[in-house]
């Protein structure tokens, strides 16, 4: 292949102010983290709530959560993003719409769309994991807590959830990593996160392979570190003798 490798490209000027291509990658990484962390917080809170709802005896409440999961899990992420970015703002009242589209910084409105989109999408997946975590517990636990006079709130907060979360740390880890990888959809609505900066560098410098190699390394390193962090947390919170660790 007839390719001209040039690894020094990252230190070259982009022609925009005094920025180098490496500066673009750093700012892109910053946005990727900003999207993923906030979307993850949204997903974890909402997902837990929905997961609990799905295990409640009330059929109506459980049904709402089920419908939510089916909708958000079965529509492609990119389609959801375009709905949040292009369609939802058009449904706002005219004054608010004007403000959202004209006065609000476009980066902010893109950021809001992607955080909401990714948060709600991932919540559906977190919900399913929380539900399976709760269902994996022996039925007797809930019955015993009830017999001791715990309220529903206390049963979940003190008995079921602390155990369920410990069981589902491994699948939650992979969802956490997915949020970081999925945040790359933001590049399609003009938010300059890591993938968008990579593509921009590739276009401007014509050094496509160097740009994507660096992006691969950054994503890989980021996700490896997160995985190790989660493993550390898993060890830290482990309760000796709890059945989730029975295999060890």
């Amino acid at each position: 292949m007839n390719y001209n490798w040039d690894w020094s490209v990252f230190f070259k000027s982009t022609g925009v102010g005094s920025e180098t291509y490496l500066d673009w990658f750093i700012s892109g990484l910053g946005w990727t983290i900003a999207i993923a962390v906030v979307a993850w917080i949204v997903a974890l809170i909402l997902g837990s709530l929905l997961g609990v709802m799905r295990t409640l005896p009330n059929r109506f409440i459980a049904g709402i959560a089920t419908v939510y999961v089916e909708i958000f899990r079965n529509v492609p992420l990119l389609v959801q993003l375009f709905i949040w970015y292009f369609l939802v703002p058009d449904l706002l009242p005219p004054d608010l719409q004007e403000w959202y589209k004209q006065d609000l910084n476009p980066t902010t409105s893109a950021y809001l769309s992607v955080v909401v989109c990714l948060g709600l999408f991932t919540a559906a997946r977190v919900c399913e994991q929380v539900r399976t975590g709760i269902e994996a517990l022996p039925r007797g636990q809930e019955a015993a807590a009830r017999a001791m006079g715990f309220s529903m709130m206390q049963i979940y907060w003190n008995v079921l959830l602390p155990q369920a979360y410990r069981i589902i740390i491994p699948p939650l880890t992979s969802e956490f990593l997915n949020v970081f990888k999925n945040s790359s959809v933001a590049s399609l609505i003009g938010l300059m996160e890591l993938l968008a900066q990579t593509k921009q560098t590739a276009e401007f410098s014509a050094n496509l392979f160097e740009a994507f190699t660096l992006a691969t390394l950054i994503y890989f390193t980021l996700n490896m570190s997160l995985m190790l962090l989660m493993r550390l947390i898993e060890k830290k919170v482990a309760v000796p003798g709890l059945m989730s660790l029975g295999g060890k």
């Binding site: 004209q102 399609l188 276009e203 014509a206």
Partner: protein, 309 residues
């Protein structure tokens, strides 16, 4: 053991005799085309009116595509291959350079700007079009030129020279613009039409193409002082001077024959598929000059006296 060199000699002699004389002179892409009987053309899917897909057959049409077909005709003559088969390969702005480099595509004609960064990776034919980077805005809006855009939302297409110029202008002149980088021209125009941005900066010919697609084309106008001139070229593999010469010769012959003017009128001043819209975009002086004096240089490093800006 003496027999080995003799056999080898006979084999080489046989190989030399059986190969037609002219084919032995061919190298690189020309040789590949001659031997395979096929040329692979790289095209775009939505660079209106340069190279785009207008119907269900999936075959490209457009101004650049007509130039590309002229190149194929030239090669047929030069290689004496009237039955040369044409294979199409869709490229995007991200894949076009690697696909030319790795041999998937032999020649790409679309809306690829010839610039010095890309010249490190590929060779360009003589220019096939010249554009100015300008603005598209509502006709009755106060946004007529770049100075009017201070503190406003301005959209452009990601990965284009316009994006670079707009961002550099914003940084240098502290204009406080919010630059939105849309993923393609269609989406950028959506942002303009839906009021997310007050102006769209892009190559003027592509702006005319987007304007023609609008719900009411007469509401919009291409405006503003051109911030740069750029020459589009066809891309070929680097370091293959024979093939590049064949491509250049075919394009120059197309210019000399005057057929280029018919092609221009067909795509820029008559109704074009799929919707039968007319871009009404007369030929610029820059393009006339380029056709009169074809060059494979990037617009930036053209001699100063040729520069109009």
């Amino acid at each position: 053991m003496r027999i080995v060199p003799q056999l080898l000699g006979a084999a080489i002699a046989a190989a030399l005799i059986s190969t037609p004389v002219f084919a032995a002179e061919l190298t690189g892409t020309l040789k590949k085309i001659k031997e395979s009987g096929t040329i692979t053309l790289g095209h775009r899917d939505s660079s209106i009116p340069f190279s785009y897909i207008a119907d269900a057959t999936g075959k490209p049409v457009g101004y650049s595509h007509d130039v590309q077909l002229a190149i194929v005709e030239g090669l047929k003559k030069q290689l004496d291959m009237p039955d040369l088969k044409v294979k199409y390969n869709l490229v995007t702005s991200q894949t076009r350079i690697p696909l030319v480099q790795n041999g998937t595509v032999d020649v790409e004609c679309g809306s690829t700007t010839n610039n010095v960064e890309r010249q490190q990776q590929v060779d360009f034919s003589v220019g096939i079009f010249e554009i100015g980077t300008r603005l598209l805005s509502k006709k009755d809006s106060p946004y007529k030129d770049f100075a009017d855009l201070k503190g406003k939302n301005v959209v452009t297409t990601a990965g284009t020279t316009s994006e670079r110029i707009l961002k550099a202008m914003n940084a240098d002149k502290q204009m406080g613009m919010n630059v939105i980088s849309a993923k393609d021209h269609g989406e950028a125009f959506n942002m303009l039409e839906s009021g997310r941005a007050v102006a769209f900066m892009m190559d003027d010919a592509l702006l005319a193409g987007e304007m023609a697609k609008a719900k009411k084309p007469t509401d919009w106008a291409v405006t503003g002082t051109p911030q740069s001139y750029e020459i589009y070229g066809c891309m070929v593999r680097k370091g293959d001077p024979d093939f590049k010469k064949a491509v250049d010769d075919a394009i120059v012959a197309y210019y000399k024959s005057g057929k280029i003017n018919d092609t221009y009128t067909k795509w820029f001043q008559s109704p074009i598929p799929p919707k039968g819209l007319n871009l009404m975009f007369p030929m610029s002086n820059e393009l006339k000059a380029l056709i009169a004096n074809p060059t494979d240089k990037a617009a930036d490093d053209k001699p100063a006296e040729e520069k109009k800006s």
